[in-house]
Structure formats: structure tokens, C-alpha cells
Subunit: 274 residues, 4 copies
Amino acid sequence: MEAGNQLSFKERLNKIIFEADTPSGKAFDIILIVSIVISVLVVMLDSVSSYRAVYGDWFFKIEWVITILFTFEYILRLTTAERSRGYIFSFYGFVDLLSFLPTYLSLLIPGTQFFLVIRILRVLRVFRVLKFTRYIVEADQLRNALASSRRKIIIFVYTVITITVIVGSLMHVIEGPENGFTSIPRGIYWAIVTLTTVGYGDISPQTNLGQMVSAIIMILGYGIIAIPTGIFTAEFSRVNRDKQTTKTCPHCSKEGHDSDAEYCKYCGGKLNPE
Amino acid sequence: MEAGNQLSFKERLNKIIFEADTPSGKAFDIILIVSIVISVLVVMLDSVSSYRAVYGDWFFKIEWVITILFTFEYILRLTTAERSRGYIFSFYGFVDLLSFLPTYLSLLIPGTQFFLVIRILRVLRVFRVLKFTRYIVEADQLRNALASSRRKIIIFVYTVITITVIVGSLMHVIEGPENGFTSIPRGIYWAIVTLTTVGYGDISPQTNLGQMVSAIIMILGYGIIAIPTGIFTAEFSRVNRDKQTTKTCPHCSKEGHDSDAEYCKYCGGKLNPE
Amino acid sequence: MEAGNQLSFKERLNKIIFEADTPSGKAFDIILIVSIVISVLVVMLDSVSSYRAVYGDWFFKIEWVITILFTFEYILRLTTAERSRGYIFSFYGFVDLLSFLPTYLSLLIPGTQFFLVIRILRVLRVFRVLKFTRYIVEADQLRNALASSRRKIIIFVYTVITITVIVGSLMHVIEGPENGFTSIPRGIYWAIVTLTTVGYGDISPQTNLGQMVSAIIMILGYGIIAIPTGIFTAEFSRVNRDKQTTKTCPHCSKEGHDSDAEYCKYCGGKLNPE
Amino acid sequence: MEAGNQLSFKERLNKIIFEADTPSGKAFDIILIVSIVISVLVVMLDSVSSYRAVYGDWFFKIEWVITILFTFEYILRLTTAERSRGYIFSFYGFVDLLSFLPTYLSLLIPGTQFFLVIRILRVLRVFRVLKFTRYIVEADQLRNALASSRRKIIIFVYTVITITVIVGSLMHVIEGPENGFTSIPRGIYWAIVTLTTVGYGDISPQTNLGQMVSAIIMILGYGIIAIPTGIFTAEFSRVNRDKQTTKTCPHCSKEGHDSDAEYCKYCGGKLNPE
């Protein structure tokens, strides 16, 4: 009986931690999100020297409370997960580990600021909680549209990189080191800043010819933003439209029929009218 | 008889103030918009020290004329509104109150510049007037499209924030305080300036690694603008399309008629007028 | 006979000047475009002091040759136009007049640089020549899409202005004159620079609160670009789709039928199959 | 027999070099891409003076190895191409030549930095390799959409140029040389920087009127990005849609089947395999 109880306890824990459709599951998620937000804010504010000087002790205490909480949560997830090895090596398993490990390591290896910054990755943990909610459908739609326009976007990005490499090298020759274009990589950096319409102004062309070339690349950059937008919009419209077909074939059980379909496109069987 | 007259007077006032389809209602709206525009311009120009030095007296006089006008209008709205309590606690009731209250309060509590700036919210009052006009259909379409893409946009914004938090922290470590990345919040501010392609240039990466990371985030920011655009375009196209296909042919029951169609394009039968 | 000859000469001139489907009409257009481009380049280069010092005499000569040419062209258009009064007061009649008048006026009223700059409006004359060509269909499509999304774009622009007015005033209070936000109009200028993602960096927030507010407005500006894009894309898709219906009703001669229409939607008559 | 063997050897080489569907063809492509990437990186890093000082010798050696490799490849392509004259004068023939010629020329004409930068065009060679792969379908779709929206984009670009020419001249007069608007071309440069939302901030308006004009042009530039995006999205959606609806049902002659459909969704009849 005890073993049975323990198992059902484990199952119940599993439900609370990994699902969100029970009251205690929801409560767990809310506590988790609040802890994540607080801990991320503490990491941020701790990096501001004036705040650290005043509230440093508080940040330190909150950090340890949250670290212990996250450690406890990690152990819980580990023990209740159906395949604990699968959890450890999953993306979120890794993110969970990184959310408390740096704090312990900072005791052993002091002074490593980079270690502490890793804790900011806790911000990724919120996405896991969203996974349970009804946001998952919309997130999937976005992911599908991105996935199916993947290859076109790769072509686009490679074209953008090629343009910036060529223009960056050209501007290195035209403007020269005296105007800030000290090397080809610096020229490429400038070309990316310009083509993406960011335009810091830390490096800007001074010669007439340089300004002419950059005018062309600006108009180009301004115009070709249309390309990824067009690609994604077209794919997303399709995904969005396709979504509305929830019919299932009564003969072969396949889904994905158009809204005007009367017969299954896979087996030719008559579909039920909606 | 007198009470009856008074009631009809209130009704008539109500029509003038809250509707726009009578000549006096339109005149009221035009006077209101002109007053709003003048008063907002006065608030703006009054903040320019050189103008205030010269025209300060005029600004003061115009401000009081308009404040009294708005006060009078508020009392009118309050008395003629069918549910005056509903009006007071509505969004526009609040905006109307804020359009004259700060001027009176500035007499009691002098020197509070912030109080005077609240008057700029008068600019919101123009939207109420637009509510009566034929712009309402188009505004509704925009609102519907935004509302139905709400969740996808929340996911997008949260993803953008996550990216900027992680990249901002990373850049704080890479570039360090000596290049302006004094803290993680400052790094996040820089990441937002960069990802959104604003690019002030008040903080810009100086190290090679920092410039490489920012080049990646620029291309990312340049590309992912496609996502909200795609989401909104798809939803708006759907809303736009749905608007025009509501008629059904009474003869062949087919749909998809243009809004100006008088006869069915499939069977030639007369369509019912809308 | 002579009058008849003269009339036919006028008609022929009219054809050459106002149309483009004859060889001499095309030749006229090409000469015109070349003259416009040269004259605009001369106006531009003449404004560069180093070029003016060296080539000033040449610029002066070319300018007068082109001015006389344009004067002659104007007289020709005036005499050959069917309604010369209509031509004078048309948009292009005005642009044509401004393309040579400033040069003559500069003889009478010397030193008025603004007068000379008006000549740059010659650049608009190229559009008239395009009017004759096959670009007209595409230009019309763009114009139609813009016209039918006009009201939605007005709502959008008014919303953008409202946001910038409110945020600009807020930042004037938060940042104050010491950080460059010297007045509300200056704050609004900054807000427009930021919301439109231009980001000069001539004014940029220095306080923590100011940077937080501007981060929000940047993400807002980055996202709401989706709105005009969505509006125009949806309208343009519709215009683009509708374009493919070149059927004319044989009964009522009306156009604008959908590609799947079998009966006229205006009179119910049977359409001819394509 | 020997001639036959030699021919078949040439044919085999041709297959390896110009096609990608054999193992040795794929291996050739991978070696080529790796060489291109290495050589482009060497050209880039060689332009950084601190790297050149330390690793200059290595860069020199790698450069020569790759140059000889590319020379050998060029000769191979030349001898195995079916029409060697066609290859020499093709776009990629020219790019291939420029990928090794500058290195040899740098021996004869030393010091010409521009010559060496030409080698960066090697980055274009990657596109040829992509031509063989399955990216070609997506690239074609993008090209088709761009080609069919060509004329509309030309109208758009010409309109943008006209706006920047007029506004640039206007700002030259309003702001004058004392605020950096030294000439009309400089004013146009500023107008392009502003309209495309790049916003370096190297030149920015200082006068009230100038800031007002630039606020208008910023909002304009922010809004009209919708136009190329709308044009491209509409065309791309059409190209994307057309791709998927080529099947016709042999039983009921209806079209509009999905690419994975095996049975007609209207009559349930078997579709012909593609």
C-alpha cells in the first residue's frame, strides 16, 4: 500500500509540476513565474553599482533563497520526471540547471562575473510555463510559418551578408582608415548597421563617393525589408487559413482538409458535412 | 408643460453633445476639435521658454478661456448624460476631467510643472469626436484585427524582451562599463535600441566581439519585424475579406458577392438589398 | 486651306507633346527627360561651393540653355493645349512654369537662394512623361490601394501623433532641459525620431526612467509599423486580385466582374465565357 | 579508344564540377565552399592591421595556396565546359577570374589595395554552388515575385528619390551650411538617411522649422515602407499560391487541389499522380 501511495504521490507531483490544468498545477506555475521574474530583476539590479552599494545585502539574500528554491524544484523535477535522463539532457533541463548552478559555483570560484550573468538565462524558463497554456496553439502557428519559410529566409540572410561583405570592403577602400573604416570587418559592421537601418552614427561616411554608396545601400536596405516580411506573411496567411479545417476523415482518420472539401483527399471517402 | 419642455431641451442638448448627425451636433464637434487643437498648441508653445517670455500673457488668457469652456462642457455632459455616474467613471469622462482640472489646481499648488503637462492629454479627446463619424467602421476593423492577433503579438513581444535581456547581459560582460555598458539594464536598453533598429549611437559597441554580437542582433532585429507584420497582415486581410462577403443569393444560396453586387454572379438571380 | 494646315500642324504638335505613341512623341519625351535630369544635376552641383567655384560659368550657361528650352516648351504646350486655361492652372502647368520662371526672376531679384532652389521641382516633371507609358497601370494600382486605405491610414497617423505628443510631453517632464528635452515640441520631435526608429541620437534619454519609457516606445514603434503595412498589403492584394477581371457585361457594358462570375452582378445578364 | 576515354574523362569532370548529384560532385562543392569561406576570411583579417602584423605571413601563404587552387579550378572549368567561350563571358566566369587574377596582378603592380579587395567578390561564388541544390526552387520563387513587382518597385523608388531631392533642397535652404546642410547633395544624403529611418545623426536639423519638416519626413518614411512590403507580399503570395494548384481532377475537371492530395476533394475521384 505504501509503495502504491508513494507512486501516486509521485504521479500527483508530476501533474503539479509538468501540467497546468489543476488548481495546484496553476498555483505552482504562478509561484514559479513570480520567482523567475524576481530573480531576474535581482540579477539586473545587482549589476547597477549604485544599487548594489545600497541593497547588495538584500540582493544576496534573495538570490540565495531563490537559488535554493530552484535547486529544490530541480530535484523535484528530476525525481518525478518519467525519464529523468531525458529531462537532464533536454533544453529546459539544461536551463533549469543553469538557473542555480552559477550561484553555488560563485562560492568556489569568486570574481567570475560572467558566471553570475548566466543566471539571466532564467528568463527562458517562463517559456516552459507558457507551453502548458493556450498560447501553445499560437506559438505553434508562428513556429510552423517560420519553419516552412526557413529556406527562403536562409537565402535572404545569405544575400544580405554577401551585400554587406562587398559594400563593407568597398567602403574600406573608398573612405579609408582616416574616416573610421579601419578594416574590412569594420566596414562590414558599418554596412550591417546601415543596411538594417540601425544607423548608430559611430562610423559614418565623410567623402562624397562614400555618401553616394551609402545612400544606395540605405534605399536598398529600406526596400528589401519587404522580402522577409513578404515571405513570412505569405506563409503565415497559409498556416492561418489552413488552421480552420478541423474536419477529420471518417474513413482514414486523416486531418488537414480544406473547408470546401467534400471528399477526403487521401482516401477519396465522403467527409461528414460540418 | 415646462417640465416637458425642459426634458426635451435636455434631450436636444444630449443629441448635440453626444451625436453628430444634426447640423448643431456637427457644429458642436467642430468647435470642440478647434478648441482642443488650440489648447494643445498653447500647452506646447508655453513650454518653449523663448515663446513663453514673449507671448506668456496670451497663452495664460487663452488657457483660461479654454479651461472655462471645457468646464462648462463637462457640466453639460454630466447633466445631459443618461447615466451621469457612468460618464464620470468612463475613460472619456476621466480625460474630460483632466482637461480642465490641472489648470484650477495650478492656482492652488503653484510650480508643479507635471500638473500642467497633464493638460496635453486633451489630445485624446479628438478620438471621441471621431467615434461619431464614419471613421468608426475602419477603426473597428483595425481594433478587431489587433484583438484577434493579440496572443501572437504577446508571444512575439515576450520573445523580443527575452532576446534583449540575454543579449543586454552578454554585452554588459563583453563590453564592460568602460564602453558605456555600465550595468545589465543599460545593456538591455542598448539591445532594445539596436534590435528595434532605432540606433541612437549614445552607446555603441567598441570591441570586435561586441560588434560581432551586435551585427547578429541587428540582422535578427531587421528580419523579425516580419513577424508582427505577418501576424497583423494575415488577421487584417481576414477581417477585411469577411466584411465584404455577407450576402447570400436567395436563389442558389451561394455566397461571396461583392458589396456592390445587385445580381448573383453565379445564377443571375436578384440579390436581396442589405 | 492655310487655316486647315495650321490646325493640323497644331494637332500634330499636340500629339508629339501630349502623347507618346508616335516616334516623334517618344523622341520628344526622351529629350525632355534628359534635359530635366541635366538641369536638376546642375542645380544640385551648383549648390556645392567647391564645384561652383570651378564650374560656375558652365553651370550658368547650361542653366540658361535649359531655361530657354523649357520656356519654349511651355509656350508650345500653352498654344497646342486644347484648353490652355486648363493647362495653366493644372498641377503640371504650375510645375512647368516654376521650372523656368525662377531663373528669369533671379535676374531681377538677385541673391534669393530660395528662388533658385525652386528649380529643383523640375524633378516632378519626369512623372508626367511616365504618365504616358505602361507604368500608368501599375501607378494606378498603387494609387487605388492607397486611396481605399486612406481612412485607416489617417486613423493610424493620428494615433501615432497622439502617442508622440503624450510621450514627448512626459519625457520633457522626466528628462528636463538639462538632457536636451528643452520644451514639449522638442520632446515630441524626439518621440517622433524614436517611434519611427530613425534614432539620430542628437537627443537621447539619460535618466533611468527616461530610458525605460523610451524602451517601451521603441518596442511600440517597432511593432506598430505592422499596422500601415497590413492595411496597405490587404488593400493592394485585393486591388491586385480584382485587376484580373477584364470581362465586360454584353448587356450593360459594366466592368469589374470577378473571374468566376457567370452573370453580371449589376444587371443579371449572362456574361460571355472568356 | 583513347579519344573516347578522354572524352568520357572530360564528361566525368564536367559532371563533378557542374553538377551536384554525384558523391564526387558533392565533395567538390563542399571543398569549394570551404576554400571560398577560408579565402574570404583571410582577405578580411588581412585588412586588420594588428592581425596582419602578427599573422601576415600565414595569410600570404594561405592566399597563394587558394589562388593556385582557384586557378586550377578555372582551367578545369574552361576545358570541361561545353562552350568555353560562353563560360568565360558568363557572370560566374567573370567572378571566377576575379577570384585569382588580382593576386597575380599584385606581384606585377604592388601597392594597389583596391586590386586586393576585389578578391572579396569570391563571396559571390557560393551562390553558384547553391544553384545546384534544392534551394533553387525557393530562390526562383523569390526572383519571380521580385520580377513581377519590378515596375511597381521602380515607381516607388523614383517617388522616394523625388521626395528626398525636394526635401533635401528645402532643408539646405532652411538649415543652411552652418548646421551641416552645406549643399543640396548633402541635404539629399540627409533626407535619404532620415526617410529610410537609418538616422546616423551626423547631420541633424537644429532649427525649429527644420525639425518640423524632418518630423513630417520621418512619419512619411515610417509609413511608406508599407508600399514595397505590400507590393512584394501580394506578388509573393500569388507566386506561392500558384505553385500549389496545378493538378486538375480527371473526373470533374475541378482545380485547386493541395500538393499532397491523392483524391479529388470535390468528387472523390482518384487524381493522376504528378
